[in-house]
């Protein structure tokens, strides 16, 4: 079938418009409004240039929440990748087609229920009378419940990893599907062991998948709040909880400023990742 030169542009126009209207426009508004001044008489913002929102980020330790959110999100993404990489490898190279399907299905089962229930269930596992503490005491390893299993950063990371693991696994599977098995066979024929193949062939060729997986998990963890509120310690915070606190007192410029800082970090990460690790390659046509 002959494709007219104008066809790709026509096909692209609808999704581009949708992305512009639904994705980019609200973000532009958020960034613009972050520089407006709060108007106490209307409880809204007025179009006067103000950096008060950004200045307030430096107060009350808010910037530490942004940093700790980034750290928690990055740690979550790294742990997810460490678990997801061997999983994706097993699905792509070791498991039969049937077993691979079963493994993928098992990975999606937790998503059949709501994120609230998923997080809440960890309280029942990690709590003082939870499964783990009961088991440890039953086998005599501990004489009293371990408190830090729940309501701690440890519990938050467990909850985040459990929630977002599939978002690291699927891009990795996608990138491994793009690895020509002949390359692996050739490396083995030349005497390379598993670790050498992994280091010299697989990891370089799945870089874009690794970064995509990292990015998906990182972004979702940055925007999460349920895991922190359900599993974190007293007053545990994360960016979305902080924004919610700020919105409660109608400090919209501050909420927008916090959002803008997070947006800049994430966009920066995407650009750096694409430049250095070739994120876009993941979506290139295989035939090219």
């Amino acid at each position: 079938m002959k494709i007219f030169p104008a066809a790709p542009a026509a096909l692209m126009s609808a999704p581009v418009l949708a992305i512009a209207l639904l994705g980019i426009a609200p973000l532009v508004v958020v960034v613009a409004w972050s520089f407006w001044a709060w108007d106490p008489s209307t409880y809204w913002i007025k179009p006067e240039l103000s950096f008060a929102g950004y200045a307030a980020i430096l107060e009350a330790g808010r910037w530490t929440v942004i940093l700790s959110t980034m750290f928690k999100a990055a740690l979550t993404a790294i742990i997810c990748l460490l678990i997801a990489y061997p999983t994706a490898y097993a699905v792509q190279f070791l498991a039969s087609r049937r077993l691979a399907m079963i493994m993928l299905a098992l990975m999606t089962i937790p998503f059949f229920t709501s994120y609230l229930i998923r997080s809440f269930s960890w309280r029942l596992v990690l709590g003082r009378t939870g499964v783990i503490n009961t088991f440890l005491q039953d086998i005599g390893l501990t004489s009293a419940p371990i408190d830090w299993l729940l309501f701690s950063d440890f519990a938050v990371i467990v909850g985040l990893v459990a929630s977002y693991l599939p978002f690291a696994t699927f891009p990795l599977i996608l990138s491994m599907q793009r690895v020509d098995p002949v390359l692996i066979s050739a490396a083995r024929d030349l005497g390379a062991g598993f670790w050498t193949v992994l280091r010299t062939v697989l990891l370089p060729l799945t870089r874009s998948g690794i970064f995509a997986g990292f990015l998906f998990v990182f972004v979702m963890a940055v925007g999460s709040s349920t895991e922190v509120q359900m599993l974190g310690g007293a007053g545990a915070s994360i960016v979305s909880v902080m924004i919610s606190d700020v919105m409660r007192v109608a400090n919209f410029p501050l909420a927008f400023a916090i959002s803008t800082v997070v947006l800049v970090v994430i966009f920066g990460l995407v650009l750096i990742g694409d430049r250095r690790l070739g994120l876009a390659r993941l979506f290139e046509d295989r035939s090219q």
């Binding site: 008489s41 209307t42 409880y43 809204w44 107060e59 009350a60 330790g61 808010r62 530490t64 929440v65 809440f120 309280r123 029942l124 709590g127 003082r128 009378t129 939870g130 408190d147 729940l150 309501f151 509120q229 359900m230 974190g232 310690g233 007293a234 007053g235 545990a236 915070s237 909880v241 902080m242 606190d245 700020v246 919105m247 409660r248 007192v249 109608a250 400090n251 919209f252």
Partner: protein, 390 residues
């Protein structure tokens, strides 16, 4: 404060869906009427009021019955409960174009009145207002410049949930800050509650120079929050909790021995076989209320009379009985008992009486009112952030 879920049945119907459905039904009915298919009798109940309230105030399908009794059909929309966005939507958004009556957490009335976003009620048009208990009429925030801007609709008072098998009898908020209970206590993850409880304790038991725990000055707030921060740093709190199920789980799974919180959690804990009590602290209770306000838009649209009829209906007894039965909340009027007495097949009189007496008894002692909009509310948030980061 949205205190939903008392173990009783909750309405799961989306309010937005319901409003849309009503609109569609209205549109469809209008078409039929235009075609001469329906007689005028079918529209005997033609007054509606757009009620923008905390989800706690919704009685779902029972609004239809309410409309039959009171001649006004409320179209309920959940306002999300957070006062910040609610005030912003009233001040800078379209809330006044959409809604007639607000049902808000107590405390914002003065500010809304000052901005001209709400208008005063004419209590002479609300005959049932006479039946409201005096202490409920005396809730601060209801009046501004001598005019009645808020009508108390739901009231209750909170204190401490505790385990007597572990702690014996508890009668002070001191238990929350007792170093012997390090890591075994919790508070709510909201300054609107936890700052008041702490201020009450410091004022009443530590003689701290605090005048009004619900409306702390800058220095009082600093004192209260520094106290909380110190205890948080010491590892006093197991967690700060959010929402009904989390609160219940903390008690049910023995994560804490005492926590500030809502009384229905005690009932739920008992249902699960736990020995749990609700304290009557010497420092008093934290009173809270949801008050109805008349939005200016209603007056501009000529809907003020219907709004008055609606609020009169809220205080008429049926609504109080229904809200008490479905959620355990109290409308502060004797009309609840009168209605149940007249309609014993609908609501058990003893249960209605018991709920009223129980809440009344709490208000017989010292009560400090929760305030969703203290004068320094922005500072509260800043301090709460410091507490989070401590």
């Amino acid at each position: 404060m949205s205190k939903t879920g008392t173990g009783f049945e909750l309405s799961s119907q989306s309010n937005i869906q319901r409003r849309n459905l009503l609109k569609l039904m209205g549109g469809g009915a209008a078409l039929l009427a235009g075609g001469g298919l329906l007689s005028g009798r079918a529209f005997a109940q033609d007054k509606t009021v757009a009620f923008w309230g905390t989800a706690t105030l919704d009685i779902g399908e029972k609004w239809q019955e309410f409309a039959k009794k009171n001649g006004v059909l409320p179209e309920f929309t959940d306002n999300g409960n957070d006062v910040g966005p609610v005030v912003a939507r009233l001040a800078a958004g379209n809330a006044n174009d959409l809604f007639d009556v607000g049902g808000f957490q107590g405390g914002a009335e003065g500010e809304l009145a000052r901005q001209g976003l709400i208008v005063p009620w004419d209590v002479s048009k609300i005959p049932n207002y006479e039946s409201v208990w005096q202490w409920a009429k005396d809730i601060p925030y209801l009046k501004h410049d001598g005019k009645q801007f808020g009508i108390p609709t739901v009231v209750n008072a909170d204190s401490i949930i505790y385990r007597p098998d572990k702690l014996g009898k508890v009668d002070s908020y001191g238990v929350i800050f007792d170093p012997k209970l390090k890591g075994r206590v919790a508070m709510e993850d909201a300054w609107i509650n936890s700052a008041v409880f702490t201020a009450m304790y410091l004022k009443e038991s530590q003689n701290a120079p605090i005048v009004e725990p619900g409306n702390l000055t800058e220095s009082e707030l600093g004192l209260v929050m520094e106290f909380l921060i110190k205890h948080k740093r010491d590892g006093q709190f197991r967690t700060f909790w959010n929402g009904w199920e989390q609160g219940v789980q903390l008690v049910a799974n023995e994560e804490v021995d005492a926590m500030t919180g809502w009384e229905p959690i005690v009932y739920e804990g008992r249902k699960r076989g736990l020995q749990v009590e609700y304290a009557s602290p010497v420092e008093g209770y934290e009173g809270w209320g949801n008050n109805t306000v008349l939005l200016k838009g209603a007056q501009d649209r000529g809907a003020a009379d219907a709004a008055h009829e609606f609020v009169n209906g809220l205080l008429g007894g049926f609504y109080g009985c229904e809200l008490g039965q479905s959620r355990g909340y109290l409308v502060p009027t004797d009309n609840n008992v009168a209605y149940a007495t007249a309609n014993p097949s609908e609501y058990p009189v003893e249960a209605v009486q018991k709920l009223g007496d129980h809440v009344k008894a709490k208000f017989g002692g010292k009560v400090y009112w929760q305030n969703c909009r203290p004068d320094n509310f922005q500072l509260y948030e800043e301090w709460w952030q410091r507490l989070r980061n401590a």
